[in-house]
């Protein structure tokens, strides 16, 4: 059962082969057994979870079930859920209980999906290895000594270890796609504004977007149908007609123009990753795709631009964590200023502090024009790069990350090396475009392990259905996406 897709599991529930309570219990048992080491889940509430499963069973019995009814889903701990501890990976929120439901939690709840638990993540989604979490690092199920990527590392490891059928993630600079790549999953960051940010603890508001992490594109389409949609509680939510993201899954790919940006295949890309990605592209040719060489000339600027804009927004977004109304407050403190300083010094980890400092610096008087304004101007140039590219092609392909999963601790003391993990993903967030990573094969590690490699597919605005079509077609002729790591039986 554990390797079945959402679609297959759903059919089992609809066909009464198994109840949601039984299925949920099975995954909870796996979590009990495997999670103490993998550490993908940081908060479980079995009573709540099983109560939801029971409710789902009653919906199914009444014939009111839909595609995701009764299916256990892991929820990234960035989403506030009523009655659930919601930590965002931070000590700051160690005892914070959500007083309301995030839009995405509400949407899964509405269709009778089961919240299996809250998944680990980099603190406030700041990191590419899940090592900044206050709740401990997460193991990559393909090689337990390696990182799962981040910031949605807990969700990625949970799906890869088959601790849940699918999970949610959020992606500010690659936080869905890079861990999906490192853990051998499919992960999609939708067009900015398609999924509501209400109840998703903000990191960088103009870049944050939630999305699905699952085994296949078909499963992601089912999740996209649930998690997208207009929400009047988020002013940046787009009021568009609901669409069925599964509608084009089986379209033939003949004639699809695939653009390969030369900047994504140059210096910095690991040879092992390049090899796998090129093989995947060869497969697309066989499927009838037409390959076009394109250029995204401002790619190299995306990291410096991102590390001005994202920290700027974060420095302000994280000001609310002041120890006054909720969250961590220092036990011993003097006056008000001392209370602020100690509470924040104790509550935030090093990477979060680093970004708050960078953000406050680039926004300060005298530096604002040189950093923030300049970065906004370059952000527009980066978006124009894509605009021009999409005049030549329908879809863009390349690597998701420059390397396979690295060893825990390997880059922990070198922030810039860590930031380079997102070199191919960040520009997509800056442009607000949809981006996806799908498993494209494996590269051997020095110590003889098979490490997953992700193929990134970037679409034009609102082109998620076409991207899922491209991914699904590939997953019909390959089986990378259904392979399981060893040692998780």
């Amino acid at each position: 059962m554990i390797n079945k897709s959402l679609k297959q599991l759903g059919a089992m529930l609809q066909g009464k082969e198994i109840s949601s309570v039984e299925m949920t219990q099975e995954f909870l048992n796996r979590i009990d057994r495997l999670n103490p080491e993998i550490n993908a889940f940081i908060t479980l509430d079995k009573d709540k979870t099983l109560a939801q499963a029971k409710h789902a069973d009653s919906l199914l019995a009444a014939g009111k079930g839909t595609a995701l009814t009764g299916l256990p889903i892991g929820q990234k701990d960035i989403f506030v859920a009523k009655g659930w501890r919601t930590t965002c990976g931070s000590k700051m929120l160690e005892t914070f209980i959500g007083p309301y439901d995030a839009d995405i939690i509400e949407r899964f709840d509405c269709v009778g999906a089961v919240n299996l638990g809250k998944t680990n993540m980099d603190e406030f989604a700041m990191g590419s290895s899940n090592e900044t979490s206050y709740y401990g690092k997460v193991q990559n199920p393909w090689d337990r000594s390696r990182v799962p990527g981040g910031s949605s590392g807990g969700s990625a490891a949970a799906v890869a270890a088959r601790l849940c059928a699918a999970a949610t993630g959020t992606d500010t600079g690659g936080s869905i796609r890079q861990p999906a790549s490192l853990c051998g999953l499919s992960g999609l960051k939708p067009t900015y504004g398609l999924a509501s940010r209400f109840g998703m603890i903000a990191f960088a508001s103009s870049l944050d977007q939630s999305g699905p992490m699952a085994k296949s594109c078909e499963d992601m389409a089912l999740m996209m149908n649930v998690l997208t949609g207009f929400d009047k509680r988020d002013s940046t939510s787009l009021n568009r007609e609901k669409e069925d993201y599964a509608r084009d899954l089986n379209k033939p790919l003949a004639g699809l123009k695939v653009g390969l940006p030369k900047e994504y295949f140059s210096e910095g890309l690991g040879a092992d990753v390049a090899k796998v990605v090129n093989e995947a592209i060869a497969e697309y040719k066989k499927l009838g795709a037409q390959i076009v060489d394109i250029s995204l000339p401002n790619t190299k600027l995306s990291i410096p631009v991102y590390y001005v804009l994202a920290p700027a927004e974060a420095s302000s977004n994280l000001s609310r964590f002041d120890g006054v109304r909720y969250g961590h407050r220092a036990k011993e403190h003097g006056d008000l200023m001392d209370m602020y300083c100690k509470s924040r010094a104790e509550g935030f980890g090093a990477e979060v502090k680093r970004r708050i400092l960078i953000g406050a610096y680039v926004l300060s008087a005298g530096y604002y024009d040189a950093y923030y304004i300049k970065a906004q101007q370059i952000r527009r140039l980066i978006a124009q790069d894509f605009e021009n590219a999409f005049k030549q092609c329908d879809i863009i392909m390349g690597p998701t990350a420059p390397s396979t999963a690295f060893k825990a601790g390997e880059k922990a003391d070198d922030p810039v090396a860590m930031y380079l993990q997102d070199i191919y993903t960040i520009a997509v967030n800056l442009a607000g475009l949809p981006g996806m990573s799908i498993p494209a094969g494996f590269a051997p590690s020095d110590d003889g392990k098979r490490l997953p490699v992700g193929l990134q597919i970037i679409g034009n605005y609102f082109d998620e259905a076409r991207m899922l079509n491209a991914g699904h077609a590939y997953q019909q002729v390959t089986d990378w996406h259904s392979q399981m790591p060893e040692g998780i039986e």
Partner: protein, 480 residues
């Protein structure tokens, strides 16, 4: 040396919307602490602001009322600083691109012969959210935070440094206070903090065109305090400069008990607010049609109404101005005229007895015990000669004391004027007979004697004789 004071105002007006500017929480004043603080007001993790369109309408109304440019695109920015009553750690405001641009208002300063008009230029007006309140002393050794007010919509209205005296500043503040209530965007309640002024004051040698260093007097919530604070601040600055000192740019507070201003913090040490556009909110777009819709709902503005009163009712400029000082007064006047009163008489009564009574009892015109209809019925009795002006004053007093309507009071007090010329002639004859000396004086050319005879006749009629008729008959008899 002769000095000139230069004053500019920043006024925070709380907008009369039912809910907060970025959430659905209520804005009602005076509730139990934190009962009007939803998860957005409390800035819980994950919550987002959604702009209340009613607040935008208020801003457009104000822009129209001061003939200002209304920006087709304005931007909300975050003003970052830490304070316990500021739950997000930033205030959402407008910084570089405000919703209302340059406009102007004409104020009247002073009374009588010294009265003059002056145009005050509005620099901008922008939307922002109010902060909560710190509550000290509720618990031993602790400070409380009440976030009921956090997120209440404010329109901050900023002037150019156009005012040159405390009187001008107060006249502007009063006029603005009237205007925001007139157009229905603010309840004007200064005690509850709905209308708060920050006043920037600087001085310079008369004739200089360079501005001196300013100090900002914060949070003045009464016109009296504003007057005192500016006067104190002005003389303090002049003295300081004349003693060879310099003025440090700073924020000061006015202490009503001592009548003094004192520096709160120096601007140099002030926060760097790290303003940047709020990524949670789209730029605010206002179309021509949005503006037209608001325009259609706008009441007639005081300036237009003033001109109409002059043209339609033949009122003097000063009177028309006084009657349009507040929408309540103007409505009261119009209703009195509509109920059949002569316009000039109505104007005199509204500005005279009615406003004197209201002032004495510290009441708003909406609380007047005499309705416009009732006042009109009284004035009509003057118009048709039933009562004299003097008698009317007695009737007015009785009506104010709720003793009945005009006619029943005239009846019960027997104030009806005698207009029967036969009866008046008889009285005049008696008076002439009884006051032969006065008649002689008059005939000898003493004009004053005539008035004394009129007085005698009125007295003899117990004030009820129609004075015009008494005059006429007396003149005829003496001249004849």
């Amino acid at each position: 040396m002769e000095w000139e004071v230069v004053i500019g105002l920043e006024t925070h007006t709380q907008l009369q919307t039912k809910t907060k500017i970025f959430s659905g929480a209520s804005t009602a004043f005076g509730s139990e602490p934190n009962t009007q603080a939803c998860v957005v007001s409390l800035a819980f993790p994950g919550v987002l602001p959604v702009l209340n369109q009613e607040a935008v309408k208020c801003a457009i109304k104000f822009g129209l009322a001061v003939n200002a440019e209304i920006a087709p695109r304005s931007v909300f920015a975050r003003k970052n600083y830490f304070y316990p009553d500021l739950p997000k750690g930033y205030q959402i405001s407008q910084y570089e691109l405000p919703v209302v641009g340059k406009g102007s208002m004409t104020i009247q300063v002073g009374n009588g012969d010294k009265a003059y008009e002056k145009v005050i230029n509005i620099t901008r007006a922008h939307l922002e959210e109010d902060a909560g309140k710190s509550v000290h002393g509720a618990q031993e050794g602790m400070s409380g935070i009440d976030l009921n007010r956090a997120g209440t919509p404010l329109l901050e209205i900023v002037t150019e440094p156009d005012m040159r005296s405390a009187a001008e500043a107060v006249a502007y503040a009063k006029k603005l206070h009237d205007l925001v209530q007139w157009i229905g965007i603010c309840d004007g309640n200064m005690q509850e903090g709905s209308f708060r002024c920050d006043v920037n004051v600087s001085v310079r040698p008369k004739g200089s065109d360079k501005l001196g260093t300013r100090r900002e007097i914060k949070n003045l919530n009464s016109f009296k305090f504003m007057q005192q604070a500016i006067e104190y601040e002005t003389s303090w600055q002049i003295e300081t400069l004349e003693d060879g000192g310099t003025i440090q740019q700073s924020t000061v507070l006015f202490n009503p008990d001592t009548g003094e201003t004192r520096a709160m913090r120096s601007k140099e040490e002030a926060n760097d607010y790290r303003y940047f556009p709020d990524p949670d909110l789209l730029p605010l777009a206002i179309s021509e049609s949005d503006i037209s819709k608001v325009k259609a709902d706008m009441p007639e503005l005081p300036e237009a109404m003033k001109a109409r009163f002059e043209a339609q009712y033949g009122l003097a400029h000063y009177d028309a101005n006084a009657l349009t000082s507040s929408r309540g007064t103007a409505n009261y006047f119009v209703a009195t005229v509509d109920a059949g009163s002569d316009a000039k008489l109505a104007a005199n009564w509204v500005m005279g007895s009615v406003s004197a009574k209201l002032n004495a009892e510290d009441k708003e015109i909406s609380e007047s015990p005499i309705s416009p209809n009732a006042l009109a019925s009284l004035i009509k009795r003057i118009q048709d000669g039933t009562i004299s002006n003097n008698a009317a004053k007695q009737v007015f007093e009785a009506m104010w004391a709720d003793e009945g309507d005009a006619d029943s009071i005239i009846e019960s007090k027997g104030l009806k004027q005698v207009s029967d010329s036969g009866a008046i002639e008889a009285i005049v004859d008696e008076v002439l007979a009884a006051n032969a000396a006065m008649v002689e004086e008059f005939k000898a050319g003493k004009e004053k004697a005539f008035n004394a005879l009129v007085g005698q006749a009125m007295k003899a009629s117990k004030g009820k004789a129609n004075p015009a008729q008494v005059n006429e008959i007396l003149k005829k008899k003496l001249g004849g």
